[in-house]
Symmetry: C2
Subunit: 100 residues, 2 copies
């Protein structure tokens, strides 16, 4: 239950990457389904350039993985582990709403 300093830093870095609204939105956007960059940009009303910048950080943090198919690049959650962490967080937000 207690983390080492290194583990604390590691977790903080992950949370830091997720702790920006647009970036979190992008991550949620391609959590369950593979999504192309322009697709994400359209859904969140962001420029493709900005989405690409954020995806680079998300990829750097191993939260997301990319797959090229023709001109498009499809992004999705890196693995089941990431999906699970975020599903937990999302579930907790839902609980907050219920409690008021």
């Amino acid at each position: 239950m207690r983390l080492s300093p290194d583990q604390t830093i590691e977790l903080a870095e992950m949370l830091h990457i997720m702790g920006e609204a647009n970036r979190l939105g992008i991550l949620l956007c391609c959590l369950e389904t593979e999504r192309a960059v322009s697709d994400i940009a359209a859904e969140l009303s962001l420029t493709p350039s900005l989405v690409s910048h954020h995806l680079r950080l998300l990829r750097g943090a191993r939260l997301v993985r990319a797959r090229r198919q023709g001109k498009q690049v499809f992004y999705s959650a890196a693995d089941a582990h990431v999906r699970s962490v975020i599903a937990d967080l999302v579930a907790h937000v839902g609980e907050d709403e219920a409690e008021g």
Copy 2:
């Protein structure tokens, strides 16, 4: 499972506050046990001033609550909900180690 824009912002703000190593360390430090500011500062080798600054942000995000007792102020996780969220995150870090 899908979050509204407002919920996304709310969650991002929470993650943003937790996404700094010293602050996360402080939060973990007073997760299970009530801890005085100087106590936390000593354990993490930080100045009481810095710890106080960070605790103000943690309190602002309702992640932590304060209780004054004489000259000291004891901080602890705001509620069971916060403890649960962080316990989940900590557990996932443990899994990462196991997987390699």
